[in-house]
Amino acid sequence: MPSRSELLERIKSVRETQQITKAMYLISTTKVRRARAQLNATLPYYHKIRETMADILQHSPDVTSHFISRDIGDRPKRIGYIVITGDRGLCGAYNHNIIKEAVAQMDDKPERSLFVVGEVGRRYFISHGYTIDVEFLYTAQDPSIYNARDIADMMVRLYNQQLLDEIYVIYTELVSGSRQEPRTLRLLPLETERLKLDEDNDGIREFIKYEPSRHAVFRVLVPEYIKGLIYGALVESFTSEHSARMLAMQTATDNADELLKDLTLTYNTVRQEAITQEMAEIIGGANAIAKE
C-alpha cells in the first residue's frame, strides 16, 4: 500500500493535469468555432470564382492554358507536395495519419519537393532524412487568407517557372465531428473534372462577355482559385486538428476523473486503516493500563 502522503501527491498532480486537459479542450472548442465561421464567410467568394471558371471552360472549349496541361518533354515530372500537419501533439492520431499519407504518396517519386506546414511535420521529415523547403515557414495555428495567398503565389510561380510540374496538397478532412481522414488534392495542373457547372443555371451565362477575353479572365482567376483551395485545406486541417484534440482531451479528462475516483478510494481506505490501527493501539494501551 502506498503511503498517505504519496497518494495525496498523486491526487494533486492528476487534478492539475486534468485542469490542463480541460482548458485545452475548451481552447480547441472556441478555435474550431472561429475557424469554421471564417471559412463560411469566405465560401461565397470562392464559389463564385469556381462558377466563373467552370463557365469559361464549358462555353469555350478552345480555352487552353498551361494551368490545365503542359508538355514537359521526356524529363521526369517534378512534383511538389504541400503537407499540412499540426504545430504540436496531444491530438490523438492526427499528425500520425497525415504523415503516413504523405509518406505513402511520395514513396516512389524521385523528383519531389516537400513543403511542410506545421512544426510536427517539419520535425518528422527532417529527422527522417527528407529534404524539405526550409524557407517555407508557415504555422498551422493561424489559417489566414494572407498565408494562403503567399503559399498560392509561391506555388503558381514555381509552376510557371517549370520548377514544379505537379502540385498536390495533403491535408486532413473533417468527415464528421469525431472522424478525420487524410486527403490528397491536386492543385496544379487543374483538375477540370472538379470544375463542373452547377445545375441552377439561369441562362444569362450564355450572353456574358469576358473582358478583355475569356482567356485573360481565366488566367487571372486561376491563382485566386488555387488560393481558395489552399485556404480551404488549411482551415479544414486546422478544424480537424482541433476536433482531434477536443476528443483526445475529452478522453484524457474522463480518464483523469476515473483515476481520481480510484485514488480517492485508495486514499480513504489507507486513511481508514491508519485510524483503525491507531484506535486499536490506543484501546490496547488503555486495556494494558487498566489491568495494572
Partner: protein, 139 residues
C-alpha cells in the same frame, strides 16, 4: 437616375451591399491597371478582372471612393457583384503604413530585379499609391 444592385464581397466580410447609380473600377492587366471602366444600370452582362486602383461608387448622387486591388467583377442585368480580397474605405487605411510600403517598393524598384520581381514591386507601389491617394483626399 436608374439604379442597380451592387454587392462587394471579400473573403472576410460583406464590404458593400446596396443600390447604386454608377461605379467606376480599374481594369486589370495582370499586374497593375490598364485604365478605368464605368458601369451604369443596364450594362451588358460581363465578367472582367479588376486591377489596382480606386473604385468609385455613386450612391444617391454622392461619390464614395475605396482602394481596391485584385479580384473581379461580374455584371448581370439586375446586379453587379465585385469579388476582391483587398478593398478598403479611406478611413480604414493606415496612411503611415501605406507610406512605408511606398518607400519599400520604390527602394526595390531602384535595384536590379528580375522581371517577376519588378512586376511585383510595381504592383506593390501601385497599391501603396492608391491607398495614399484616397486616404489623403478624404474630407
Amino acid at each position: 437616375m436608374p439604379t442597380f444592385h451592387l454587392d462587394i464581397v471579400s473573403p472576410d466580410r460583406e464590404f458593400f451591399d446596396g443600390d447604386v447609380e454608377e461605379i467606376i473600377f480599374p481594369v486589370s492587366n495582370g499586374y497593375t491597371s490598364d485604365g478605368y471602366m464605368g458601369v451604369l444600370a443596364g450594362h451588358e452582362p460581363m465578367v472582367c478582372p479588376i486591377g489596382i486602383g480606386v473604385l468609385r461608387i455613386k450612391q444617391n448622387g454622392q461619390w464614395r471612393d475605396a482602394a481596391i486591388s485584385g479580384g473581379f467583377i461580374e455584371i448581370r442585368p439586375q446586379t453587379v457583384t465585385i469579388l476582391s480580397d483587398t478593398v478598403e474605405w479611406p478611413e480604414e487605411i493606415d496612411a503611415r503604413r501605406a507610406e512605408a510600403a511606398r518607400r519599400r517598393a520604390e527602394e526595390r524598384l531602384r535595384q536590379r530585379l528580375s522581371q517577376e520581381e519588378y512586376l511585383r514591386s510595381q504592383a506593390a507601389l501601385a497599391r501603396a499609391l492608391t491607398r495614399l491617394r484616397i486616404s489623403n483626399r478624404k474630407v
